[in-house]
């Protein structure tokens, strides 16, 4: 996983010149008073990854010119603001900059490789920075927002979408079964067989037996043994004008069944239309926003084009205006995001419209079936044609309502305004029945025609029943399978979410208890809330004074809520950060008392010891406590953030930096300021030695504790050394240094102190000699009382490479 090797920030936010930190994967403890610009570091790193800074409003940094707000106000327009980060994986090193070209800010990344792009995409959802003001963001968000947050981070949106597709499919099939109303359709045909054959028929065998009974008077050589025999028999009947009567009776019978089906489907159509109407009415309230989504396709396409490799120049591919590609992409994404909610509602409306259209198509199919029958155009069937016209006009009426463009006309008819006069359906059924009876009377007495009529009508109904039963069975089989799949999916989703939530809850509770042992809050749990089997949110429940309660803001103090916020952040890091092994904490402990501050420090060092932590604070006591904890740990750096008018926010130079500068100045024979730099270096070195070998100086309050000067420290060091068996090793060099003009009193760091280059060179040799006695080159650290060997009575470095006899 990725850690930071170094960063270099120039001209960004409060940093005027540059701020560089060589971390080499180490953690850093940075102290800075308020208003020294600690947050500039957090801002820079956040902007590097997210291309935005959350605590600055979108408008401030995203509108044209907003990027200039990220540039330090006093740098020249010709200078770039930049954030350069080098990582443990060098292929990800990149310098991201903002430059002003023709007054337009442009963002550029020096690394445009696919590997880097993927890394930034992966890091988008990772928790990398935490500020005091963000602490309770998750804790205080609504249940739905919590669910959205977690769903987004762990990719549960795809799971929810898949579940919605399966659910929709199951519902469509159920609806299809309802619309087709197979029971009714089958029952109608069974009634038709009953009328024609005066007997209920439920099997092929029974049907064939009945047909054989009917055809007995024909004295055929062979009886009917299978359904195909009946088809063959019907083809043998002579075609005559009278047989047309039978054919027409079949048409009327069929039409009666179709009309019953149409009535059922119109009821369903109107139900679906009602849903469409309600959604239409809701969306129309926010028509201005809806109008904006007409640009969706253009924006989506723009995003696709910009993400691809087609556009290389920093200009808009449409208007050719000069603009950073990255900035343009960000603008498009923000615009798309702002339309998300209305897009969802529009999608529901489109789905409802689609459902109504499908129902219309089904009815139109039945109408087309009526029209295609050869008897439809018969002279005597004018009432049927009139009825079909009424029906088609009705379908057209609903289609017209569906075609109304919501952006142009904001009113559609209600369901009640679209009701069909049902008596028209009954009238046409009555007409068909009467015509059928009339035709039946025409063939009465003609035995052969009567037999032919019975076989034709019953066969049509019987075949319909078989077809309907088969369709129903296939549809039900699909419904059952889809329900099984949907249920299995819901079970799987719940199980996996449960594992996640339980694991998440367990760690939140564990860390919280670490910070607040034995207090009134325990058993913290993340719980899902559901409505009609759908996940609707996530709540945080816990036991307060042994009673289960929620939400936290009702029962917990500000500092406890902040603890919960920190805990959530830390657990999220472990759960979701898959690429990065570092995080930044920016002044997060303001509301904590000293006891909880200590516990929090212990938590970081104990549980997150394998993470790179950049910890910034303006709280001196806490800084001192953490400094004490990490003292001697080679994987921690300690520094202070300062602000000056000339440099803006900057870090104190480390001893390593100072040493480099001194060697360079000596090599260049450059005495300018060299004496003071050597003094500062010596002070830093002596402070480190004093801390490690337990040199005690006079008590001073914290504010001026750092102001110890070299002469005070050297004198006390001498006093300590004089009591040690190794005093002869250290004494000469310390004695030599004490009277030097470089070891001045407080107030001597002034411009009147101006030693020559020779003096500097000579004193620097003394400093190096002193340093060599205390400093181990292998461990890169000074000898320390922490590694005191009680048996051998020696003080040594961590690795034991450098040691001296010592009385403790």
């Amino acid at each position: 996983m990725i850690k930071i090797k170094s960063f270099l920030i120039k001209g960004f936010r409060g940093i005027k010149e540059q701020l560089s930190l060589e971390l080499n994967s180490k953690s850093a403890l940075l102290f800075g008073e308020n208003a020294t610009g600690k947050s500039s570091i957090t801002d820079a790193i956040e902007w590097f990854y997210k291309n935005a800074i959350k605590h600055l409003s979108d408008e401030e940094i995203d509108r044209k010119g907003g990027l200039t707000a990220l540039r330090n106000t006093s740098i020249a327009d010709t200078e770039k603001s930049s954030v350069e980060i080098c990582f443990t994986d060098t292929s990800l090193d990149s310098l991201k900059s903002i430059s002003l070209r023709r007054a337009n800010p442009e963002v550029e990344n020096s690394n445009n490789s696919d590997v880097f792009t993927k890394y930034i995409e992966d890091s988008e959802n990772e928790n990398l920075t935490l500020r005091y003001e963000d602490l309770t963001e998750f804790v205080l968000s609504t249940k739905g927002e919590k669910l959205d947050f977690l769903s987004n981070v762990i990719g549960f949106n795809d799971v929810s979408n898949t579940r919605a597709i399966l659910r929709k499919s199951v519902n469509e099939i159920k609806n299809s079964l309802k619309i087709k109303n197979y029971e009714n359709e089958i029952s109608n045909r069974e009634g038709q067989i009953m009328t024609v054959l005066s007997e209920r028929v439920i099997s092929d065998e029974q049907y064939l037996r009945k047909i054989n009974e009917i055809i007995k008077p024909l004295e055929l050589e062979k009886s009917m043994s299978k359904l195909e025999d009946i088809d063959h028999l019907l083809s043998l009947f002579k075609k005559s004008d009278d047989t047309v009567v039978i054919d027409m009776r079949a048409f009327y019978y069929d039409l009666i069944n179709t009309i019953k089906g149409i009535e059922n489907r119109i009821g369903n159509l109107l139900d679906l239309y009602k849903v469409y109407y309600q959604l239409f009415e809701k969306i129309v309230q926010d028509i201005e926003t809806l109008k904006k989504i007409t640009l969706d396709i253009l924006l989506e396409e723009g995003r696709r084009v910009l993400k691809g490799s087609v556009v290389e120049k920093d200009e808009c591919p449409l208007c050719l205006q000069v603009k950073s590609k990255e900035e343009l992409l960000k603008e498009i994404e923000l615009r798309l995001k702002s339309l998300e909610s209305i897009r969802k509602e529009k999608s529901l409306l489109d789905n409802a419209k689609n459902d109504v259209q499908k129902a219309l198509d089904g009815i139109n199919g039945l109408i087309a079936g009526i029209q295609s029958n050869k008897h439809f155009s018969s002279q005597e069937n004018q009432p049927i044609r009139n009825f079909v016209k009424v029906l088609m006009d009705y379908m057209k009426l609903i289609t017209q309502e569906l075609d109304i463009d919501i952006l142009k006309n904001q009113k559609i008819k209600t369901k009640d305004e679209l009701l069909l006069d049902i008596t028209k359906l009954n009238e046409i059924s009555d007409f068909c029945e009467k015509r059928s009876e009339f035709l039946s009377s025409q063939i009465k007495g003609n035995k052969i025609l009567e037999i032919q009529d019975k076989i034709t009508l019953s066969r049509q109904a019987y075949y319909d029943i078989k077809r309907l039963k088969k369709e129903k069975q296939i549809l039900e089989k699909q419904k059952e399978s889809l329900e099984l799949i949907f249920n299995a999916f819901v079970k799987k989703q719940k199980e996996e979410l449960e594992i996640f939530i339980n694991s998440f809850s367990k760690e939140i509770d564990e860390y919280y208890q670490y910070l607040h042992p034995g207090e009134k809050v325990d058993r913290i749990e993340i719980k899902t809330t559901e409505k009609e089997d759908e996940l609707t949110g996530i709540s945080i429940d816990f036991h307060f004074l042994n009673k289960e309660v929620s939400p936290p803001q009702k029962y917990l103090s500000e500092s406890h809520l902040n603890s919960l916020g920190i805990v959530f952040f830390l657990v999220s890091i472990k759960a979701f950060n898959k690429r990065n092994r570092f995080f930044i904490l920016d002044d997060i402990i303001s509301s904590f008392d000293s006891n909880h501050r200590k516990r929090l420090s212990d938590l970081f060092l104990e549980i997150f010891s394998d993470y790179q932590i950049i910890l910034m604070t303006h709280e001196r006591n806490w800084f001192d406590y953490v400094r004490h904890l990490v003292r001697g740990r080679s994987n921690w750096l300690i520094n202070a953030i300062n602000w000056s008018e000339s440099k803006g926010t900057h870090l104190n130079e480390t001893l390593v930096d100072l040493k480099k500068t001194i060697w360079q100045k000596l090599a260049d024979n450059d005495k300018m300021g060299l004496g003071n730099i050597i003094r500062i270096y010596l002070e830093g070195l002596l402070k480190e030695m004093a801390e490690e070998v337990d040199v005690y100086v006079k008590y001073r309050s914290n504010e001026i504790n750092e102001d110890r000067m070299s002469n005070e420290l050297l004198t006390e060091l001498k006093s300590k050394i004089n009591k040690q068996p190794c005093k002869d090793l250290f004494g000469p060099i310390i004695n030599k240094m004490i009277p030097s003009v470089f070891v001045g009193n407080k107030g001597s760091h002034d411009s009147s102190f101006d030693p020559g280059i020779g003096e500097c060179r000579a004193f620097w040799q003394d400093v190096i000699e002193l340093e060599k006695l205390f400093y181990c080159d292998v461990c890169n650290a000074v000898i320390s009382i922490k590694y005191y060997d009680k048996v051998g009575k020696t003080i040594r470095c961590k690795g034991g490479h450098l040691s001296y006899d010592w009385m403790n």
């Binding site: 795809d158 369709e471 296939i474 399978s481 996996e496 694991s503 759960a575």
Partner: protein, 63 residues
């Protein structure tokens, strides 16, 4: 965090890989759904069309 916590994609991969093992499920339908998911074609419209064509196929097959 427990190692068995899965991402959304892992959950979906897992589910569709085991779809044919759902008890009493129509194997042909399950196989088609799995194929649609693997090909990135799992959408409402595609599923609806697939169900229509499977029904039609079955009606014609046995007629």
């Amino acid at each position: 965090m427990d190692k068995s916590v899965k991402s959304g994609k892992e959950i979906l991969d897992d589910f569709f890989n085991n779809l044919l093992n759902v008890p009493n499920v129509d194997k042909k339908l399950a196989a088609e759904l799995k194929k649609m998911y693997e090909e990135g074609e799992f959408s409402s419209a595609n599923l609806s069309n697939k169900l229509d064509s499977l029904r039609e196929e079955e009606i014609n097959d046995k007629n």
